[in-house]
Subunit: 284 residues, 2 copies
């Protein structure tokens, strides 16, 4: 998916929020916004947003003076999500439809705003999410693809959400390889974050080799690309991975919340819809 003009003020808001998160002085945030402003005319609009995000976050991190400004927030998200693990695992095991329930819990993990809420609030938020109508939900197609696949490649997205991914992975009944980012960016999952969520106990972990907040195949390691192109079934979590992979010919199911107008419009769904989307059904 290309970058839309709507992405530009959104990137600027991300710069502002990150500056605030790490307690950057207001005048330095202003300098950051001004430097980003000067970069705008050089942003290649034909690139997917995750590619642009790497440039933007390199700039942000230079001002912030940290390689991984979200690390504390990520650790907190993982702790909060782990606090929900036992209860959610029980809910899935006791469900009349464990796989269906685990898919819904995994997509709900893409929605929850960790880091600002108590475990109690998170559980209430999750319960509310699970009763709302979902958007496109290709569960039958997914079940049939899963039955035929002898292994699954799972593309991770945010930290915290990782624990919800683990719950789904534990119920898939197939060997899973879980791909993490090649380095820290925003609150995306890295090797360290995946291990903190206990994913190493239930599947293989692999780095994509790409630091972008979305799987840009040309920036991934040759090893990861081989893995990707030979995978019989791929679960792609979150919006960034979808933005990067739309149009790539591969057996991908996208599992995400449509979090912005641009993506919702592009997919022809409503803003905020929860989606399990067979990439084979998308018109290009």
């Amino acid at each position: 998916m290309k970058t839309f003009v709507d992405c530009i003020p959104c990137f600027m808001n991300q710069a502002l929020r990150t500056g605030r998160l790490v307690g950057l002085e207001e005048s330095r945030i202003m300098d950051l916004l001004a430097e980003f402003g000067g970069m705008i005319r050089h942003i290649p609009m034909e690139d997917p947003p995750p590619r642009t995000a790497v440039t933007v976050y390199s700039l942000i991190n230079r001002y912030v003076g940290q390689e991984d400004p979200f690390s504390m927030l990520k650790d907190q998200s993982t702790r909060q999500a782990l606090g929900m693990y036992e209860e959610l695992s029980r809910q899935i095991r006791e469900s009349t439809d464990p796989l269906g329930q685990a898919l819904k819990i995994a997509v709900a993990g893409n929605v929850i705003d960790f880091g600002i809420s108590s475990t109690y609030d998170l559980q209430a938020e999750l319960a509310g999410l699970l009763t709302k109508p979902f958007g496109i939900w290709h569960e039958d197609r997914f079940r049939s693809a899963l039955k035929q696949a002898d292994n699954v490649l799972y593309l991770g997205d945010n930290t915290g959400e990782t624990v919800f991914d683990r719950l789904l992975i534990e119920i898939l009944g197939k060997p899973v390889t879980y791909a993490v980012r090649g380095g820290p960016i925003i609150n995306d999952v890295t090797m360290r974050d995946a291990m903190a969520a206990g994913l190493d106990r239930v599947c293989n972990l692999v780095s994509s080799g790409c630091r972008a907040p979305g799987i840009l195949l040309d920036q991934c390691s040759a090893e990861f690309r081989r893995l990707f192109h030979s995978a019989p079934l791929i679960i792609s979590k979150g919006q960034g991975n979808l933005e990067a992979l739309l149009g790539v010919n591969a057996p991908v199911f996208f599992l995400l919340k449509a979090k912005c107008d641009v993506v919702a419009r592009h997919l022809g769904v409503a803003l905020g819809d929860l989606l399990l989307l067979d990439s084979g059904t998308i018109q290009h």
Copy 2:
């Protein structure tokens, strides 16, 4: 009130929305955002946002190629609000507390999103607003100030909302002078818009002489400044006027919705609060 860093992405979003509203090509919107981006480091942060808005909207209008890109939307808002006039006028007259009811209707007019809804939807939205709790509401102070004033200066804000201002003006029981912007900016009320709302039938109309979306006294005409400084009671509508007038020593009551985080934080109220705020109570 000074400009905060949060205002910068907000201005950029306004540029994007205005470009979309008039159907500007995406590549031209991108050029507009890039040119705005280059301006950021020259924005004087000590200025109130309405002063910066004049520079930003001059740039926007240059790309848009129109002096008043919101004119159609403004006309539509006025028509829709006039469609509610008779019913609201009846509600006020039949209320046990006409002035209290008219104040609430006037502030609700600052909230309603004209131009996207039917009259039926607008009436439902208004009814919903009037049942919710308000924020700071200095109605007793206002009643006492009104009793002592022999005339009122009313500072207009958005078009459409003008009809709700008219309903309040009709019940004040004092001669009112209604101030409009010195020229078109965003959807703010100009002389032409005030007349379309029938305000000329119930009060005197005066141009502030200032085109900014907020009363910047140093940009107003000498005549308007005399009027302002001799007014025994001033009703200031909307956030832009508040941003421009905070700290000015005058008998002002601000009537508005706190529409953005910056203003809410600055006033110590919740985002979205409806306010009738005696400026004499504000700590500087």
